[in-house]
Symmetry: none
Subunit: 402 residues, 2 copies
Amino acid sequence: MQLHKFYSSLAIRNDKKIVVLLIDGLGGTSHKDYGYKTELEYADHPNLDRLASRGTTGMLTPVLPGITPGSGPAHLGLFGLDPISFNIGRGVLEALGIGIVPEPTDVLARGNFCTVNDEGLIIDRRAGRIPTDICEQRLALLRDIRVAGSDIELHAVQDHRFVLRLKGADLDGDIDNTDPGSVGAKPRPAKALTPRAETTAKIVNAFVDRALDRLKGQSAANALVLRGFSMLPDIPSFHELYGLRSAALAIYPMYKGLARTVGMDILDCGETFPDQLRTLETHWDTYDYFFIHYKYTDSCGEDGDFLSKVNHIETLDSYIDPLVRLDPAVLAVTGDHSTPAALKSHSWHPVPLLLVSSTCRRDGSTAFTETVCAKGGLGHMESKYLMGLLLGHALRLEKFGA
Amino acid sequence: MQLHKFYSSLAIRNDKKIVVLLIDGLGGTSHKDYGYKTELEYADHPNLDRLASRGTTGMLTPVLPGITPGSGPAHLGLFGLDPISFNIGRGVLEALGIGIVPEPTDVLARGNFCTVNDEGLIIDRRAGRIPTDICEQRLALLRDIRVAGSDIELHAVQDHRFVLRLKGADLDGDIDNTDPGSVGAKPRPAKALTPRAETTAKIVNAFVDRALDRLKGQSAANALVLRGFSMLPDIPSFHELYGLRSAALAIYPMYKGLARTVGMDILDCGETFPDQLRTLETHWDTYDYFFIHYKYTDSCGEDGDFLSKVNHIETLDSYIDPLVRLDPAVLAVTGDHSTPAALKSHSWHPVPLLLVSSTCRRDGSTAFTETVCAKGGLGHMESKYLMGLLLGHALRLEKFGA
């Protein structure tokens, strides 16, 4: 039986509230410039530490040892889904990232404007990273292209990147990239990887042919490539699975979109963590499960800015008390993955987990750091088990077997 | 390959003895009235602690994180079976609990006497919890009911509860509960959930119809409902799988029954732990694997009696030395699940494990507590892996692969 269905088969309803505070990219690695400490070890976070002494800690492995997850698998794991079975394609993720919530019948692809020479060979895969407004201008040239069998939407993302959304009744996303992946080659025609996707591939090719006609003559960004054709995976909602009324408090569109895939309500929660907290308080009685997404730690990690990540951890720490005072039955503080400043990217390192509940077994943790969590009472587990652990601590799972 | 078959494929015989001391419901949670300690942390158990310093510790997760197991899955896990694949139904477990060891062809159900009004609607689902002797009297009214296709046995359990056992050649237990689960409804007819179970459902309904006739006119306990129809899962024995001559030293019938499902001999072992130890000594040469079940810790946990659970742990500790002096090649001390007094029920928390063997890698543990075991050298693992670990330490598994 699939893990989420197993947990679902035991789910019962009660009035206990679960809060997950997700600190994006939380985990770090030992940084040689900072005494071989991680950002979390270097930062001063007395409130999180105090919380650790009231709870129990552990480590979450986002997917499997050594696997660096994208945001999609990392979040699906935390939402209790096996992130290998339920992969979210790049096209869908890109759409979620700009606030589009696809219909289950849509096909989405990530598009890149590129520049080709007179023979149609790609000479710049990113079209000189044209500014977003030029991207918008190019898309405007293409918006009235009509192809039978599908409505076509085009959405600028940033620079040369855009999203192609096909809407229709019988579409299928099992289509290979048209991006040849290197300069000196022509964009490839869209190719169906299964018979079911052949009609969709024809639609894509009809669109691309007409788009290339219209882009002809531009000095840069005179062609396009598509990749990551995908559809929304068929994901059951938290309410269907667990009877949880769930809400997401996320500022960035992608995380709202990811939360939407498991049926969370997306609350309008402002621009800052204090805004998110106020939104949480306002909606406290309406939901059973709250997902609070704190983004800035990840961005600093990606930038390689160790001290800025430290700073954002410390800022977050200063707002922990109002959260704790709401007294959720279960509070989990963790990350979706690690983003060590030393690596300037997502990484495979396990992520610290802190769980506080009256049903906890306190494990003697006195701080919230990687080193403490690695020896914590919850041990190490894959992120996909967190959902069951939260439900268990909230007494929302009945006994398995007699 | 199923886990137990994989271990089985490598099993070899030797003269090394394995002893599993199972302390039922061993694990606890932090209790606010006792300095946020667990029962095991609060108790004084110098002998177990000394044993820990000679061995290696770890944590067992009975099923999966967050899952609270019943006794059936919890024990099957410790016996090396995947507790999700090999679930034991309530009917079978109830039978095991009163000392019935079902044949693989039997169908068993848990029965409840209930009270219905003149229209046949349930007004008391437990018939006022009639005393067991009244339950016996009601069953006596029903014992000579004969239905073609099956022999029917009825066994009182306690209060209004009894076991229905159907014996026959072609029975199938895939039958829905007749218990509607609420007052104001009529008992439902037995309904086959698969075509194979239709004949059995008809037999059940024929029995119930005649039983209701005979119960008519009683002021209470004038009807019955059945639930948890089930058959013994097809479980291979320890001897078949591992060549182990195995014996159980359990006082309570259910644990004898569970041990019987994997083919253990059930030794008559008296009423107390010292009795169990004497029985162990007597049969030391006859078996390779001994399963000693210590029940009282679970019962106290269920009662919410923290200090009594502490007391039973301390009592058990005082008898550890005679056990150690028998010098088994491998001694494991663990639980089937946690039963924290703070929760008054089984729980999902992982269970401490202590393993002592000359083949151990000592991990520096100096006590046997949840906090120590959570950081122990064996790490955290699902209970179903314990069997392989025991066989490994007993040098009873040959090398896998060249």
